[in-house]
């Protein structure tokens, strides 16, 4: 996996967690699988990295966790999005949209040419 992809994933792991928790409360393993499934296997996180991100989100009040008894086996720590987390997710979505729009504009814009030391956009 290229380093850039790793950095992108690392930087956006909290947002991805908030996004998958928007649907329903999940435990750590299910969060990792949900991100994988929803991204059609394009985003395979370093699963250990989920937990520092979850702690950070919890410390900031964006998620809360409770140990829920399971029908089979031991209780598991399940994370739920809070109202503050929902608001944070909306902010992050808006930020991402602005960023993606800006990148797309650059990628798809008519390419500038170098004229006399100054970049001049080619006419569309």
């Amino acid at each position: 996996m290229p380093a850039t992809d790793d950095q992108l994933k690392k930087g956006n792991t909290p947002t991805l967690i908030l996004a998958v928790l928007e649907g329903e409360p999940l435990h750590g393993y299910a969060i990792a699988r949900a991100i994988e499934t929803l991204s059609a296997d394009a985003l395979r996180l370093n699963e250990g990295a989920l937990y520092p991100a979850l702690r950070s989100l919890e410390q900031n009040g964006f998620v809360v966790s409770v140990w829920e008894p399971q029908p089979t086996g031991a209780a598991r720590r399940v994370y739920t999005l809070t109202d503050a987390g929902r608001a944070e997710l909306q902010d992050k979505k808006a930020q991402w949209q602005r960023f993606a729009d800006a990148v797309n504009r650059v990628l798809n814009a008519p390419k500038p040419t170098l004229a006399g030391g100054n970049y001049v956009a080619e006419p569309a």
Binding site: N46, G61, G73
Partner: protein, 244 residues
């Protein structure tokens, strides 16, 4: 779920390494993290095994997906420290320097300038610093009590110890006023250095600028978390805390 830990020393070893890294965390946090990570690793192994992966390979894959145990533990510890940085360190430093050390340091020359009180003066200095160090250790679990005590005795005791040493030299011992002035100046330098260190920590944590609003914003959430974690929250209690 099958208990794989008994049959997979690799998982055991991984969790033990992680456990060492997160040892400074409070016991409840540390134990919860260990259980949670173990369950996650076991779930990966179980899923892979169901798909036909040999158990040993499944364990290896699970550990690869989790990444290096030391790095993970270190990151978890840093995350915990970040929680403490804007609150406990700030409060502790302010309390330490403005309520405890300044009076102690200013009083030290008076106390020890009288030879019959010298023993009490030394006891007072070390006693108060030990109590403050213990208090810091409690407030600062992620740092570890040893770190706090080293900090306490190496850095904060420097000024009173210097005063004691100066008073032992006859010319200074006879002129406690000079010593008093020196100690006062060194106290100010001490406070300045501590505040610089504090600012450096805050800036490193990226929270210096947003500290006040950040803290205010977190208060109701922390209260909510506290109640939720204890499992005795009624909706009404939570609502009241959030309103507060």
């Amino acid at each position: 779920m099958q208990n794989l830990l008994e049959t997979t020393p690799e998982l055991d070893s991984y969790l033990a390494t992680l456990g060492k890294e997160i040892a400074p965390l409070p016991p409840e946090e540390r134990d919860a993290a260990q259980v949670e990570l173990r369950q996650h690793l076991e779930a990966i192994v179980a899923a892979e095994t169901e798909l036909g992966t040999p158990p040993a390979q499944a364990v290896e894959n699970a550990l690869t997906q989790f990444g290096d145990a030391r790095t993970l533990g270190k990151t978890m510890r840093q995350t915990w420290n970040e929680r403490l940085v804007p609150t406990d360190l700030h409060v502790a430093l302010v309390r330490l320097h403005f309520l405890t050390l300044i009076p102690v340091q200013l009083a030290a020359p008076f106390v020890v300038s009288s030879s019959q009180n010298a023993v009490w003066g030394v006891a007072l200095l070390f006693g108060i610093n030990a109590v403050v160090g213990w208090n810091l250790g409690k407030r600062f679990p992620a740092l570890g009590s040893t770190t706090v005590l080293v900090y306490q005795f190496a850095f904060l005791l420097a000024v009173p110890v210097m005063a004691l040493l100066l008073l032992a030299v006859p010319p200074f011992g006879k002129h406690w006023g000079v010593v008093f002035g020196l100690v006062a100046m060194l106290s100010l330098a001490n406070i300045f250095a501590a505040l610089c260190a504090h600012c450096a920590v805050m800036i490193r944590a990226g929270r210096f600028v947003t500290y006040p609003t950040h803290e205010l914003r977190l208060l109701p959430r922390r209260a909510h978390l506290m109640v939720t974690r204890r499992g005795d929250a009624s909706a009404e209690v939570t609502r009241q805390l959030l309103r507060w």
